[in-house]
């Protein structure tokens, strides 16, 4: 840190530095910057609070009302019965997406950061970044017209061979199930997880990579011994960013996933089964047009649940990262 950015530094007065005050942003610039960053920090908090307040206020009628008040919207389910399966479906789809995307992203990020020859790593990184720029409705189209027909036979085969394991049981065509939706979600969250992981992998100190190599580690062992542990908290943060996006993604899920029938309360772990899941976001998008009065309040209550899940996910991520801070290599 240079002295001219810390106005309180002893001896700053009367030193030649002081003469530069006229030509550099100096104290005013510092104050402006500090003010701006504080203001934007506060603005974020205020926005967050405003969203939370809005959700709670609008959801309150449904939360406090007797189930009879919205029975024709929920087809006789109470609020818990209505939102529960949606929460389940949301988390399930996002988790499957994460299970698919995280290992892939780590692999691609490792490849780009440490193993690919220069002339390959650049283009690969670029293509992955491009994936992030594709609108989700396009992913939805791709999933609907390409993925679903192609993946159906594979799921059918898995369900026949491994159907004795409950989660793979009862595949039914077309493959508009939660797994198809999750695959599309995985492709959508892949770029962000890859990009963040790549950055942290690149920061692995040369010193630690060489320590590992000098012990006789193969390339893969270097990754396991030095690069992955060093990037661990970064990868977790990246995964949580991806999870956040997967939890809230609407369009792609709406286009691909055939939801359970209205008024049913299903919690199904059969990830290849048809019409057994729905996510909060897709459900809101699907229902909002025909909802009015209490129906809207019910949907907003489900939105509140989504908001809460996202917060919990973020807090969990922070906790995981903080727990092993002493071993992070940041010191």
């Amino acid at each position: 840190m240079s002295t001219d950015v810390t106005p309180e530094a002893p001896g700053a007065e009367g030193r030649p530095l002081a003469s530069r005050r006229g030509t550099t942003p100096g104290r005013f610039g510092n104050r402006l910057f500090a003010g701006l960053s504080t203001a934007s920090g506060i603005l974020i908090l205020v926005t967050l609070a405003a969203v939370a307040i809005f959700l709670v206020r609008e959801a309150l009628p449904a939360i406090t009302a007797s189930p009879a008040a919205y029975a024709d919207f929920t087809r006789d389910l109470n609020l818990g019965q209505y939102i529960g399966p949606l929460v389940f479906g949301t988390v399930l789809a996002a988790l499957i997406a994460l299970v698919i995307a995280v290992p892939l992203s780590i692999g691609i990020a490792l490849f780009i950061a440490h193993y690919a020859p220069k002339r390959l790593s650049g283009p690969v990184a670029y293509v992955v970044d491009l994936l992030a720029a594709i609108p989700s409705v396009v992913y939805g189209l791709w999933g609907f017209f390409w993925l679903v027909p192609k993946i159906g036979p594979i799921m059918d085969w898995i369900s026949q061979k491994l159907g004795f394991i409950p989660i793979f049981a009862d595949y039914a065509p077309p493959a508009k199930n939660v797994t198809s939706a999750a695959i599309v979600l995985a492709v959508m969250i892949l770029p962000i997880i890859t990009a963040v992981s790549r950055e942290v992998f690149l920061q692995t100190p040369r010193l630690h990579i060489e320590a590992s190599l000098a012990l006789g580690a193969t390339r893969w062992e270097v990754a396991r011994q030095a690069i992955l542990p060093f990037g661990r908290s970064g990868v977790i943060s990246a995964s949580m960013l991806g999870l956040g996006r997967a939890l809230g993604e609407t369009m792609a899920v709406l286009m691909i996933l055939a939801p359970f029938a209205r008024g049913t309360e299903v919690y199904s772990i059969k990830i290849l089964a048809s019409a057994e899941h729905q996510t909060i976001a897709a459900n809101i998008a699907q229902q909002i047009r025909e909802a009015h009065g209490m129906g809207v309040s019910v949907l907003i209550a489900s939105g509140l649940a989504l908001f809460a899940i996202t917060l919990v996910v973020n807090m969990a991520a922070r906790w995981i990262v903080a727990r092993r801070a002493a071993f992070s290599g940041a010191n």
Partner: protein, 259 residues
């Protein structure tokens, strides 16, 4: 557990730049060989060729021979990973793995070789290696704490413990004390004295007193001019090198007239 290395006519390159030229030297087992010379003359570069660490730098390559135990470590069919498992290395800056505890650091190399080791054997190895590195008494109560929490000197001894835990044939040290305070430096020098009972040690040092204190043989590297490749000027018993070197350049360097 210790072997000799015969280097002959070794040229070392970074891409097109020839950093070191025509080194021929014999490294005796169970002895300490010190490499001295002005900075930039290729001591580190040469040291890193002895365990094939040089080639991990893109474009870096080597011509010539380095024979250990009758096998040219640069021969075709020799796996560099295998070479590095037999020739350990301690770096200039202590580099324990920050994500591992002290214990895990010691076991890091062994874990690469055989995955599953009974706990008792692992405990024994950890204690033995840390004792060998004169670190046991200082860390025995905090083996599960991160290695990065130790002082610089302790970290360097941890790195030595990590290197010797795999029972290498040879131990290479690149200015292992240059980042340490005088007391830690003495501790490491004592340790080098003890380790040479079991290991072949090659140490790069910019400190002439250190070379004369710890080594049996000394090699002097020099550059004719900047941009020229470094060369091994002469190599002899340490006492001879420091009392009656045969080359003028060596005498000048040792007596502090340049470098």
């Amino acid at each position: 557990m210790s072997k000799r290395i015969d280097v002959s006519d070794l040229d070392i390159y970074y891409g097109d730049f020839k950093a070191v030229q025509g080194v021929t030297m014999a490294i005796e087992p169970r002895s300490v060989t010190a490499l001295i010379g002005p900075s930039g003359c290729g001591k580190s570069t040469f040291l890193r060729t002895l365990n094939r660490m040089h080639e991990v730098i893109p474009g870096a390559r080597v011509e010539g021979k380095a024979v250990m135990d009758g096998v040219d470590i640069y021969g075709s069919g020799v796996d560099p990973v295998e070479v590095r498992r037999q020739i350990g290395m301690v770096f200039q800056r202590p580099n324990p793995f920050p994500t591992m505890s002290i214990r895990e650091n010691v076991l890091a190399g062994v874990k690469l070789n055989n995955r599953r080791m009974p706990k008792a054997a692992a405990d024994e190895l950890v204690e033995g290696s840390l004792r060998h590195a004169n670190l046991w008494n200082e860390v025995k109560d905090r083996l599960d704490k991160p290695g990065s929490g130790l002082s610089g000197g302790q970290q360097q001894r941890l790195c030595i413990a990590r290197a010797i835990a795999v029972s290498p044939q040879v131990l290479l040290m690149d200015e292992p004390c240059s980042a340490l305070d005088p007391i830690s430096t003495l501790a490491i020098e004592d340790l080098i004295h003890e380790l040479k009972e079991d290991y072949t040690i090659v140490i790069v040092t910019h400190n002439m007193q250190q070379a004369s204190r710890v080594s049996d043989r000394t090699g002097f590297f020099n550059l004719e001019a900047t941009g020229q490749p470094g060369q091994l000027v002469e190599m002899d018993d340490t006492t001879t090198m420091f009392s009656a070197p045969s080359k003028k350049a060596t005498e000048d360097y040792i007596s502090g007239r340049f470098g």
